[in-house]
């Protein structure tokens, strides 16, 4: 754990290193930047480690649309320590171990007060602004004074970042920080999807399309609930060996199904279809397969993957009418400040396996290697340490 004295920088900009994305799809550049002090309701945090999530990859490559802006600091899965707090910040103090979370939880709006959803009507619609409460105002400048844009209200590919309190969770300092970082996005999304969104029960059958970190986390969540059969579907057979650690009981490689559709294979394996299916890739056609893989009368499909080309989803009316159910979910239906501490607790009690998600560890400066590993499908979660 870091024990730098923070008091010297309070109220002043901090000069530190960040990995900047200056052009879509090009290698990130490690540069010196300035990070302004936190405004009211904001917290400046020192990042301890950060991991790469597929969503970072998607937006790194994207060069059109409202969310595409450069130069920018990507990264949204991380763990840090509070360096200083802005006015009106309650519940956080210097030295607290915190997780920044891309999905907002303002605690005050109708949705945040309801147990039925993790939507936040106050903030969730806006995923484009740089800062939550200050629109396009940014806390980052490069060494020439040019504004650098934020990403998903986190921007963790930097030694320091500024995060709104609606996007921050205080956690126990007992959990090893690299495991904690995983809970700030991917793993929580998957487990939450199984537990909260689908509410997988003991003895259920489950199909997971896409065995990246989110898909494997869904399996972990389903395993902990006592699912009887967890089928993993992926075109990369390397994922199968890894998947066994997460509770998968069966695997299907769509490229080896011949004329049959994956959904047909799933239905054969389960005598009619699974109780729950999860789409963890981001392809409308795969979502439809996931949808018809479920059992009529009770089947529930959860969409977790972000459609890569914004392609529309097309579902058969008859397939829906036969008692099926489909919904999408961000962050696995979790309310960050309430649910992440519960997951941390499960890990500390040795009930939740987080260790198996980490396949690589690198120094922050080698971030581009981490991008390459993920693109090539060779890594699950690569932890980037700021100080090692």
């Amino acid at each position: 754990m870091d024990n730098t004295s923070f008091s010297s920088n309070e109220g002043k900009p901090i000069r530190c290193k960040a990995a900047i994305c200056r052009k879509a799809g090009e290698a990130l550049v490690i540069e010196d930047i300035h990070v302004d002090p936190p405004q009211p309701y904001e917290v400046r945090i020192k990042i301890l480690c950060t991991s790469l999530c597929h969503t970072d990859l998607t937006f790194w490559k994207l060069d059109f649309g409202p969310i595409s802006r450069f130069p920018r600091i990507l990264g949204h899965e991380a763990v840090g320590v509070v360096e200083s707090i802005g006015e009106n910040v309650v519940g956080f103090k210097q030295g607290d171990v915190v997780l920044p979370v891309f999905h907002p939880y303002c605690e005050e709006c109708k949705d945040c007060k309801s147990s039925k959803t993790n939507w936040c009507e106050r903030y969730a619609e806006d995923f484009i602004s740089n800062t939550r409460r200050y629109g396009m105002a940014s806390r980052f400048k490069d060494s020439s004074g040019e504004v650098i844009h934020h990403f998903l209200f986190v921007s963790s590919f930097s030694e320091y970042t500024v995060v709104d309190i609606a996007h921050l969770v205080k956690i126990s300092p007992e959990i090893p920080v690299d495991k904690a970082a995983l809970l700030s996005c991917g793993v929580s999304t998957g487990i939450g999807a199984a537990w909260k969104v689908a509410n997988v029960e003991e003895g259920s059958t489950v199909a997971v399309f896409g065995l990246g970190a989110v898909g494997l986390a869904v399996a972990e969540g389903a395993r902990l609930r006592g699912a009887a059969k967890i089928i993993g579907i992926d075109t990369n057979p390397d994922k199968f060996e890894l998947g066994k650690k997460f509770g998968f009981t069966d695997f299907i490689n769509p490229t080896l199904c011949g004329e049959k559709k994956v959904s047909e294979v799933v239905k054969e394996m389960t005598k009619g279809g699974v109780d729950y299916s999860f789409e963890c890739v981001g392809l409308a056609s795969l979502l439809n397969e996931a949808f018809i893989s479920t059992r009529t009368g009770t089947g529930k499909t959860v969409m977790l993957g972000m459609e890569k080309h914004a392609a529309p989803i097309s579902l058969g009316s008859f397939d829906l009418l036969r008692g099926r159910n489909i919904c999408g979910s961000l962050f696995g239906g979790l309310k960050s400040k309430l649910d992440i501490p519960i997951l941390v607790d499960h890990y500390l009690k040795k009930e939740l396996n987080l260790d198996s998600f980490i396949t690589h560890e690198l120094n922050f400066k080698e971030i581009n290697k981490a991008f390459a590993l993920l693109e090539e499908g060779k890594s699950l979660r690569c932890i980037l340490w700021m100080d090692k």
């Binding site: 949705d111 039925k116 939507w119 009507e121 914004a310 036969r322 008692g323």
Partner: protein
């Protein structure tokens, strides 16, 4: 023509019955009232004498349709009430003289789905619009007087003085309930009330929107009313439905033809401050399902589809919308109800004056006037038209 088939059973009537039926011989053409032969029940089947039957839009759909699964000549009708005339072997559930509701949705009670609390889709007799009896391959109990096979419809075929049903498609009920009210629970009212109560689980104080104020939509309103919904917004293109709808608990009405430059979903989003808790599509149009989805509330909004669209129709949704907003899209057949479990419960609620059925019956006619009933329904001039057998 007799082919008495006594197989050691001590029931008296094991011969074909000659009776009147309204036969649909050609798509979209008036039904022909003719004499037909109804064969005796096979094992696990019962033959019933229909007391009365009501016309449902699904009958109209398959009457008009010129491609499979439409087929001709066929005996349509699936919402009815009858009395058991004879039973086949192995039938333990009912005896001659029992009053039963035929139900198009099978409930075999034995398969893993019928045994599950969560599903109402029997896997022993998977739901499909079949020309035949469910248990025996390519088997019909009807022939016309020329010996030509007549096709069944939805396991019921109630536009006939007598019909044959599988035990999976009957529910025994109390004979004291007025038949013209009880028959409604064999399809339409159960579907709508069930959708609100069982599929959607509408809560007290909810805001509900119903697209399509036919019998199903009005039954959804009745169900939502029983569940304590505080606002029930009805959407239809026929302004006359609003007057009717008020009797069913509809609090506000939107005429989708007169929304000017706005889409219905925009109007509803404005009226509800961001969308309804529950939206029901009761017409059978994928584009309307999309409209309904667009005005159900982000976070916890549920859109439920009940209407049957053309085979192969697709519902198209924006992937960003689906992923981000957390809305749920669901479909159900027969309101998610298990016939043998839930119909008796609905009848109880009728008898205790909670569930109102009288207001659904707008016309009562003689069976021979069936083509007039079709016209009334096509012109949107009736809710339920009950046809009494002679």
């Amino acid at each position: 023509m007799e082919n008495g088939n006594s197989s050691g059973d001590n029931k008296s009537s094991r011969k074909p019955i000659r009776c009147k039926a309204a036969v649909s011989r050609k798509a979209g053409e008036p039904l022909v009232m003719e004499e037909i032969m109804v064969a005796p029940p096979q094992p696990y089947e019962v033959r019933i004498r229909i007391i009365c039957t009501a016309l449902c839009h699904s009958d109209v759909t398959f009457w008009k349709l010129q491609v499979p699964p439409a087929c001709f000549p066929r005996i349509l009708g699936h919402e009815a009430i009858g009395v058991v005339e004879s039973v086949g072997e192995n039938v333990k559930e009912v005896v001659e003289g029992d009053t039963v509701l035929p139900t198009f949705m099978p409930d075999c009670g034995e398969c893993v789905d019928c045994k599950s609390q969560k599903s109402n889709l029997c896997s022993k007799f998977p739901f499909k619009v079949s020309p035949w009896m469910p248990r025996y391959e390519n088997s019909s109990r009807f022939t016309d007087l020329n010996g030509q096979t007549l096709f069944h419809f939805l396991n019921v075929s109630s536009f006939s003085e007598y019909t044959v049903l599988d035990v999976a498609n009957i529910v025994k009920i109390d004979s004291s309930i007025p038949p013209s009210r009880a028959c409604l629970l064999s399809c339409g009212v159960s579907t709508g009330v069930g959708a609100a109560w069982e599929t959607a689980k509408v809560e007290q104080g909810s805001t509900v929107v119903i697209f399509g104020l036919g019998s199903i939509g009005l039954a959804v309103a009745e169900g939502a009313r029983l569940c304590g919904a505080s606002r029930i917004i009805g959407v239809d293109i026929n302004p006359a439905k609003f007057q009717v709808g008020q009797n069913f608990g509809i609090t506000e009405f939107v005429n989708s033809m007169t929304c000017e430059k706005k889409s219905v979903s925009e109007v509803i989003n404005e009226m509800t401050g961001g969308g309804a808790d529950y939206c029901f599509e009761c017409v059978g149009s994928s584009s309307l399902v999309q409209e309904a989805y667009a005005c159900c509330r982000q976070g916890w909004g549920k859109t439920i589809t009940l209407g049957v669209d053309k085979p192969g129709s697709q519902i198209c949704l924006d992937s960003f919308d689906v992923l981000h907003h957390g809305k749920i899209l669901m479909g159900s057949l027969f309101g998610g109800l298990k016939a043998k479990t839930h119909i008796p419960l609905l009848l109880k609620r009728y008898l205790s004056n909670e569930l109102e059925l009288d207001k659904f019956v707008t016309h009562e006619m003689k069976f021979e006037e069936i083509n007039d009933a079709f016209q009334l329904l096509l012109e949107g001039k009736c809710i339920r038209c009950v046809l009494w057998m002679g």
